[in-house]
Structures are given as structure tokens and as C-alpha cells.
């Protein structure tokens, strides 16, 4: 957290900022596009601003937009956001040993502020939690600096996108950039044949079940894909997967 002086006065804070800075233009472009996509998909400026400031998770924001616009029930939107965000649950298991010495509110705030890129950079830099208090502070300060620049790039660019959106005619269809972004993240997750199977099954099931009310096709598609993949794993364990 950038506002704690023990972190932002630490040299590792600046180092964290410096090491995320090459990623900053990419993060900003993604934020800009998300800002435009939110407004162009029919959200109000106030809603889009609140979403930027509070949700702070591009993929779940973009996934929620078509559901909000379609009037899906809240639980369907939250369940979808939860599933999209499940990759962070995996990250949190790893980050636990680095943060567990802190008071709960501090580690939860660190968790909230640590998005994909910050996690990847942090995990690449520190293979193991530090043994000493000074080492733990350094790691925490690095994470905080990294998170801070990432957060700033994202928030500023998102607001610029929200402001810019009103200058662009809706007929241009710029909301589609949000779908392309999700498609890119989807491709980045397609790291094994089983995950590709999950994507194909979920995509097909979401289309087949589209006529279900309340956007339930999304929930059904996720459930069908996950259950099918777990079943395939059971029947034919993939190499490297413990049964």
C-alpha cells in the first residue's frame, strides 16, 4: 500500500515502480479501452467511474458489462466475475507465505491491489519468502511500489477512456474491443489441451443454452465445461496430474 510510509520510503518501493514501468503503457492502453467499452456498452459515466475505482479487475469488469446490459440477475453477474477471477485464487495461495505475517487488513489490501502483472513480476523476482524482518519489509515494499504504478496507470487511463467515450459515436462498435480483450486473456489461459477443451465446451454450451432466462447460459456453460473436464481427468489422467 503506497500510503504507508514504511513502504513508500523504502528503496524497494521505487524499484518495484521501476520494474513495472515497461508494462505501464500496455496497462494504460487496456484501461483506456475498458473505460471506452464500459460507456459504449451502455453504462453511465458515474457507473463506469464507480466500476473503475472499486472493482479494479479488467477481465471481470469486461465480462460483467454484457450481463449488466442484458439485465442478468446480480448473482449470475457475481458468479461469472468470481469464475473469471478464480486465477487470482491460485495466485493468493502462492502469495500467502509472503504476506501472512501482516495484520489481516493489510494483507487483504495488498491482495486487492495485486493484479495479474504485479503478481507475475513479484513471483519472478522473489522465489521464496524472506527469512528476516528486513527482507520481508523489502519484499512488501517492492510489491507495494509495483502495485502502485500499476494501479495508477490503470485508473488514470480508465478515466480518460470514460471521458473520451462520449466523443466517439456508438455506431463505431468500440465496445467490441472489450470482447477482443477478453479473447486475448482467454488465449493466454489456453495453456493445456484440457483448458482448450474447457473453452470449447463452455463456448458451445453458452450458445446452445442461450435461450435460458436470466443469462443462466453462462453459469450452465461454466458448470458443464468444468464438470466435463474433471470427468475426463478422472477417466484418463493427463501426464503430470496427480489423480
Amino acid at each position: 500500500m503506497f500510503f504507508l510510509s514504511r513502504l513508500n520510503r523504502h528503496p524497494a518501493f521505487v524499484q518495484g515502480m521501476r520494474e513495472v514501468s515497461p508494462q505501464s503503457p500496455g496497462i494504460a492502453a487496456w484501461g483506456l479501452m475498458t473505460g471506452v467499452a464500459m460507456v459504449k456498452s451502455g453504462m453511465s459515466v458515474f457507473e463506469a467511474s464507480a466500476m473503475t475505482l472499486l472493482v479494479f479487475a479488467g477481465s471481470s469488469q469486461l465480462a460483467a458489462i454484457p450481463l449488466i446490459v442484458a439485465g442478468a440477475p446480480a448473482w449470475v453477474i457475481l458468479a461469472t466475475g468470481f469464475c473469471v477471477n478464480l486465477r487470482f485464487v491460485v495466485f493468493s495461495l502462492h502469495l500467502r507465505s509472503f504476506l501472512i505475517h501482516l495484520p489481516r487488513w493489510q494483507r487483504m489490501l495488498h491482495g486487492y491491489l495485486t493484479a495479474d502483472i504485479s503478481y507475475v513480476l513479484f513471483a519472478r523476482k522473489y522465489a521464496h519468502p524472506a527469512e528476516t524482518a528486513a527482507g520481508r519489509l523489502e519484499q512488501e515494499a517492492y510489491l507495494a511500489g509495483n502495485d502502485f504504478l500499476n494501479w495508477l496507470s490503470w485508473i488514470v487511463a480508465s478515466f480518460a477512456g470514460v471521458a473520451l467515450a462520449n466523443l466517439i459515436p456508438t455506431t463505431w462498435g468500440l465496445g467490441f474491443a472489450g470482447i477482443l480483450c477478453l479473447l486475448g486473456i482467454q488465449c493466454s489461459l489456453a495453456s493445456s489441451r484440457m483448458r482448450m477443451l474447457s473453452a470449447v465446451v463452455a463456448g458451445a454450451a453458452a450458445v446452445v443454452a442461450y435461450s435460458l432466462p436470466l443469462k443462466l447460459n453462462i453459469v450452465v456453460a461454466i458448470a458443464v465445461a468444468v464438470i466435463l473436464c474433471l470427468t475426463v481427468e478422472k477417466v484418463r489422467p493427463a501426464p503430470g496430474v496427480k489423480a
Binding site: 466500476m51 450481463l67 473469471v84 493468493s92 502469495l95 474491443a177 493466454s188
Partner: protein
């Protein structure tokens, strides 16, 4: 100007809580604990399934009806985007390349 409503704001607050919950999932409790095996394995497959379930209908259907023409800018943009992703492994390039295909087809040819 789009309108603001309380329901949407409540959903946004809910999504913010989802962000906090998922990003700090395993260090909310002081006690170390484990998910059951099936849930650990499910973590491998749920995120990509959720994205695909949202994305695919937005590319190949109009309000849930399968498109019946290949003259749809979204098909070409998505194919280009996915191709560029697997070539360069960059989400930003995926968006840029996809939109570079989408906008001329959509605005120029009306697809």
C-alpha cells in the same frame, strides 16, 4: 447519456467484493487450509470456461441466434485477434490487430 441506477451500483459494489475475496482468498484466514482436490482441479478450468462462455456468444450470435452469414466483421476480427495472440503472446496487440480488422469491415462495408 446513459442513466445510473442503484441496482447497477449494488452489482458494482458486489464485484468489488469479489475482487477482494478472490485476490486474497488464501490469506484471509490466519489458519493454513486446503481446498478439496476437485476444487483445486476445478480452478484450472473455470476461468477459461467463464471467459469463453461470455466471449463466444458475443462473436458468433446476434442476441443468441447464430449468425447465418460469414459477412460479419466480428468473425474476422476475432480470428485475427486470436492468430496475433498465438503469434506474439500479447493481449494488447490482440486488441489492436482485431480492431484494425473490425473497424474497416464494420464502418466501411457495414458488416
Amino acid at each position: 447519456m446513459n442513466g445510473t441506477d442503484l441496482w447497477t451500483l449494488a452489482v458494482i459494489v458486489g464485484l468489488a467484493l469479489v475482487t477482494v475475496l478472490t485476490r486474497s482468498f488464501f490469506f484471509i484466514s490466519n489458519k493454513s487450509w486446503q481446498l478439496p482436490h476437485w476444487a483445486q482441479r476445478g480452478l484450472q478450468y473455470a476461468p477459461i470456461a467463464a471467459l469463453s462462455a461470455v466471449v463466444v456468444p458475443e462473436i458468433i450470435t446476434v442476441q443468441g441466434t447464430l449468425i447465418s452469414t460469414w459477412q460479419d466483421a466480428r468473425l474476422f476480427a476475432a480470428a485475427m485477434g486470436a492468430g496475433v495472440y498465438f503469434w506474439r503472446r500479447d493481449v494488447l496487440l490482440t486488441i489492436v490487430a482485431g480492431m484494425a480488422v473490425y473497424l474497416p469491415l464494420h464502418l466501411g462495408l457495414g458488416w
